[in-house]
């Protein structure tokens, strides 16, 4: 059976897991950490850095350090969510040719898919180092409330990373799988998932190895980073009041502030009060000034209280959608680092009136669940079945800017629905369908999923053609559209094209760039090895020389000195051909020297 890894591609941290004989386990990275920061940076020498190494240099290289890109994936540059990120980010976000977001770093522009792919490649490598074999198949998690564009973009990121994404699975659902896959008994479970960037809540009904998601909801722009922002604002504003300097305008200062705010928030989970100290944060009249501010838990709770309230509100609405009341819930699972905040736990407990389930690390549970789902797909002996739902209603725009819902939210996937379309002009050869995702009755207030063009309609009088269009949502939550001319019954007679998003050419370009990057990476590694070998040999010849010097001819000595200086030059120029030649000359020299010495 082929191995499948589960990857939790998080806003702030990512985690990879695999199903072993005893169950799912998290694979630690080379540094021994269970999770890896979702950060990609480009060093001055153009080198790409991912994970902890990228995080460590974030302060000194803020403009070329990309983080939190999950908040941008699958979003249009013009959307309000993107502008909010752009305002806070120390790196540059630009508009791409398709209205998508592009990130500028290391003197280049990247699609969000590419940057996500860099993180996925790192996770893939972590798994491969651990398993000692190549891994291709993966299950990647996304927030339950992700729409079609965000899911598609995530899947594309997987493709760019060289992964065969066998399933996109919702994060809260994955958490439920990790909690329940090996336990018996029927029960109702709520997953409250407050991660770095997104909030999701799902209600599940579990029995006989079937995990049925009853309802799901969330906010793709509510998470730990918003908690951080509140702390950043608080610290920056009190600093401004004190010194008249706005730290948020200085990229380096903002980055330091961001780190300090995150640390303070984390510490307040177990401390009553913290001291935030940032020496030399700014200068005024040529004098350095320091930031020194204490933050109490009560004050922090005041700053973020409305965010927590909003989570609990969404939680209540989701339960209502499921037709349940809090008392019917048997188990509450908290997922995501932000749920460590005592206020969050307190409010959730208060809402449900029962203690929370603890046991699995909230940072790892999602990746573990993804590994469980991966195994369930490839292992026929696994009884488990997941019945997930689509989080958003799928509809089409109709006359007057209204929406006609085709597939309501919380419908079990995979699912499909057919509708009839016709023409309004004689001999009209194409029809456009505007597909939307969202809950608003107004077309303009929903997410535009795509404009599908039905073309190749055979010539006929208006109103005569009868085209059956099937809208399907697959198990990944991704929408596809197929059309069929009902009169001729030909599936191929109508073509469906979707606008927006990445084109196949874009995708191919990114994949081929990844290939060439990997080749370059391998070349770089073998070059480094060669340099190292030449360096070692160079040193060895130097060591041998004094003792043997008296016993060799002047010509030989000249030859050896020549080889040594040649090697020095080759190590500087890093030319593969020169290095190889020098290696041989040095090797010969070392041999003759040790032979002489042996006499």
């Amino acid at each position: 059976m082929e191995k499948v890894i589960g990857i939790d591609l998080g806003t702030t941290n990512s985690c990879v897991a695999i199903f072993e004989s005893k169950g799912p386990v998290v694979i630690p990275n080379r540094g021994g950490y269970q999770t890896t920061p979702s950060i990609v940076a480009f060093a001055e020498n153009g080198k790409r850095l991912v994970g902890h190494i990228a995080k460590r240099q974030a302060v000194t290289n803020a403009a070329n350090t990309l983080f939190g890109v999950k908040r941008l994936i699958g979003r249009r540059f013009s959307s309000p969510e993107v502008s909010r990120t752009v305002d806070l980010a120390p790196y540059t976000v630009e508009e791409g040719s398709e209205g998508d977001c592009r990130l500028r770093a290391g003197g280049r522009s990247f699609t969000v898919q590419e940057v996500s792919a860099f993180i996925l490649m790192e996770m893939k490598k972590i798994a491969e180092d651990y398993l000692g074999e190549e891994v291709v198949k993966a299950v990647i998690t996304v927030p339950a409330y992700f729409n079609d564009a965000q899911r598609t973009a995530t899947k594309q990121a997987g493709q760019v990373a060289g992964l065969d994404v066998i399933r996109i699975i919702n994060e809260p659902t994955a958490a439920a799988l990790a909690y329940g896959y090996d336990r018996e008994g029927a029960r109702h479970l709520v997953v409250f998932d407050l991660g770095g960037g997104t909030f999701d809540v799902s209600v599940l009904s579990i029995s006989e190895d079937v995990f049925e998601v009853v309802s799901t909801s969330g906010d793709t722009f509510l998470g730990g980073q918003d908690f951080d922002s509140r702390v950043i604002d608080y610290l920056a504003e009190s600093f401004q009041a004190q010194h008249g300097i706005n730290l948020r305008e200085d990229k380096v200062a903002l980055q330091r502030l961001r780190e300090a705010a995150e640390n303070a928030k984390c510490e307040l989970s177990f401390k009553r009060t913290v001291e935030v100290t940032l020496p030399f944060i700014a200068t005024k009249d040529g004098q350095p000034i320091h930031l020194q501010q204490s933050l109490s838990r009560a004050r922090f709770e005041e700053l973020v209280g409305d965010l927590v309230e909003r989570c609990v509100e969404i939680c209540g609405a989701t339960l209502e959608n499921a037709g349940m009341n809090p008392a019917e819930i048997d188990e509450i699972v908290l997922v995501g680092g932000q749920t460590r905040t005592p206020l969050v736990q307190e409010k959730v407990e208060e809402f449900f009136g029962r203690p929370l389930s603890k046991g699995i690390n909230p940072d790892e549970v999602v990746a573990l669940g993804a590994a469980v789902q991966g195994q369930a797909l490839v292992d026929e002996n696994m009884e488990m079945l997941l019945l997930d739902v689509t989080p958003l209603s799928l509809g089409i725009a109709t006359v007057g800017g209204a929406v006609s819902t085709l597939i309501p939210k919380n419908s079990t996937i995979p699912t499909q629905k057919s509708h009839s379309f016709t023409t309004v002009h004689d001999n009209q050869s194409a029809v456009k369908i505007v597909v939307l995702q969202g809950e608003s009755e107004r077309a303009s207030e929903n997410q535009l999923l795509g404009e599908f063009l039905l073309s190749g309609i055979r010539p006929a009088r208006k109103g005569v053609p009868d085209i059956a269009v099937t809208f399907a949502i697959d198990a990944d939550g991704i929408v596809s559209v197929t059309a069929r001319d009902r009169d001729t019954g030909k599936e191929q007679s109508i073509t469906v094209a979707m606008s927006g998003g990445l084109s196949d050419q874009d995708l191919e370009r990114m994949i081929s760039e990844r290939d060439s990057y990997e080749i370059a990476q391998r070349e770089e590694e073998s070059l480094q090895e060669l340099v190292y070998k030449v360096e070692t040999l160079h040193q060895r010849v130097l060591d041998l020389l004094p003792a043997a010097e008296a016993m060799i001819t002047g010509e030989q000595l000249h030859e050896i000195m020549d080889a040594l200086s040649g090697a020095k030059a080759a190590m500087n120029s890093r030319d593969v051909g020169d290095l190889r030649a020098c290696f041989e000359r040095l090797d010969e020299a070392a041999h003759s020297l040790s032979a002489v010495e042996g006499l």
């Binding site: 725009a397 006359v399 007057g400 800017g401 079990t412 016709t422 029809v431 456009k432 505007v434």
Partner: protein, 379 residues
């Protein structure tokens, strides 16, 4: 009317489709008509033929065909294999069990040929049935519609209403709708004429066929079991199990038969091993013992004989030790196995282990002279 017609050809439409608010005037009209859609879809699916490249076993194909055939004619209760009086709990249980059989994930990345579309239809249908029947209001409406009293007028009214609410209906669609209305009326007439017992008969007939097949398989299984042909018995019980997954008897019988089959196979290997030992073909005997152990990894006897063979005919004392340990692990009260294990421990110089093994033997059999002698020697 200043507004342009509902949809312009895209050549002109695309330029004005800059944002959603501009899409008002270029919308295609949909006509909601699910039943017809599905029926046509089903027709298309039915034309699919058998294909040997399909990764499905015969019984899997049968199960899919059985669920799929005439699915549009079935009531939601028939689809979920439930009586009309079913409790919410059993509706859920039935849906979960059927999902485990028919969810496309259960056939992940298999070549399904025409069965792929069939599975999609089945899963769609059972999900719809579950959604309606698990919602008390929707279920009541459904019951009234399908099984309720005469409501001809009300229904005719709802048909006309449906067509007036649609702003624009294609010619072909109008014709089709009219035909459909006639068809639907006829179908509802038919449904209404059926009294409940008839409905139950039809429901029973579908199921009875399946159950009859399952019963035949159970019988064949039993006969095979009586003749101690465990392989055949296991195969038959498995068939019965697939045909009638809600029969716990088939499952236990299958488990028993396949266990017996394995035991018989293991015992057979063991006997063969002993025979070839008589011919002093130790290599072949070792292979056969290995097979016996693989077949039934919980039987001490196989490990014991295998271990003794390794001990006497090879220099691999460690392997022999492992095997004898296994023998004692599964049958700790067997004196012979323990004595042999003790001897090997002694030979390998693992005195304290040997001692505790011999002490165990003395606990089992106080007067065992071999053990007491060995103990004395060790001390």
């Amino acid at each position: 009317m200043s507004r342009t017609t509902p949809f312009d050809p895209p050549a002109s439409a695309s330029s004005e489709a800059e944002d959603l608010s501009a899409t008002d005037d270029e919308i295609a009209i949909e006509v909601d008509d699910e039943a017809e859609e599905d029926e046509e879809f089903v027709q298309g699916v039915l034309t699919g033929s058998n294909d040997d490249a399909i990764d499905l076993k015969t019984d899997q194909r049968m199960a899919i065909d059985l669920a799929f055939d005439g699915i549009d004619e079935k009531s939601f209760y028939e689809i979920l294999l439930l009586p009309r009086t079913a409790e919410p709990k059993s509706i859920k249980r039935s849906y979960y069990r059927l999902s485990k059989e028919y969810h496309p994930d259960k056939f992940y990345r298999k070549n399904l040929g025409p069965y792929k579309a069939k599975l999609e239809v089945i899963f769609n249908k059972i999900t719809e049935a579950y959604r309606i029947l698990s919602d008390p209001d929707a279920r009541a409406d459904y019951d009234e519609l399908v099984f309720g009293k005469e409501e001809e007028q009300e229904k005719a009214a709802s048909v006309t209403q449906a067509s007036t609410t649609v702003t624009f209906v294609p010619e072909a669609e109008k014709k089709r709708q009219a035909a459909e209305a006639v068809k639907r009326a006829a179908r509802e007439e038919k449904l209404k004429k059926r009294s409940r017992p008839v409905f139950m008969q039809k429901f029973g007939k579908q199921l009875a066929q399946r159950i009859a097949k399952a019963k035949a398989a159970m019988k064949a299984g039993k006969e095979a079991a009586e003749a101690e042909n465990w392989e055949e018995a296991a195969a038959q019980y498995q068939r019965a199990m697939t045909l009638d997954p809600r029969n716990p008897k088939a499952k236990t019988a299958y488990k028993r038969a396949s266990a017996n089959h394995r035991n018989a196979k293991a015992e057979n290997f063991y006997r063969q091993a002993q025979e070839v030992m008589l011919a002093e073909d130790t290599k072949r005997a070792a292979e056969l013992y290995q097979k016996a152990v693989d077949c039934k990894p919980t039987k001490g006897k196989y490990y014991y004989e295998f271990g003794k063979l390794v001990l006497e005919h090879t220099l691999q004392q460690k392997t022999a030790l492992e095997l004898l340990r296994k023998a004692v692990e599964f049958e700790p009260r067997n004196v012979d196995y323990n004595l042999e294990l003790g001897r090997v421990y002694g030979d390998l110089g693992m005195t304290s282990r040997a001692q505790s093994v011999y002490e165990r033997v003395l606990k089992l059999d106080k007067k065992n002279s071999q053990a007491s002698k060995a103990l004395k020697r060790l001390k």
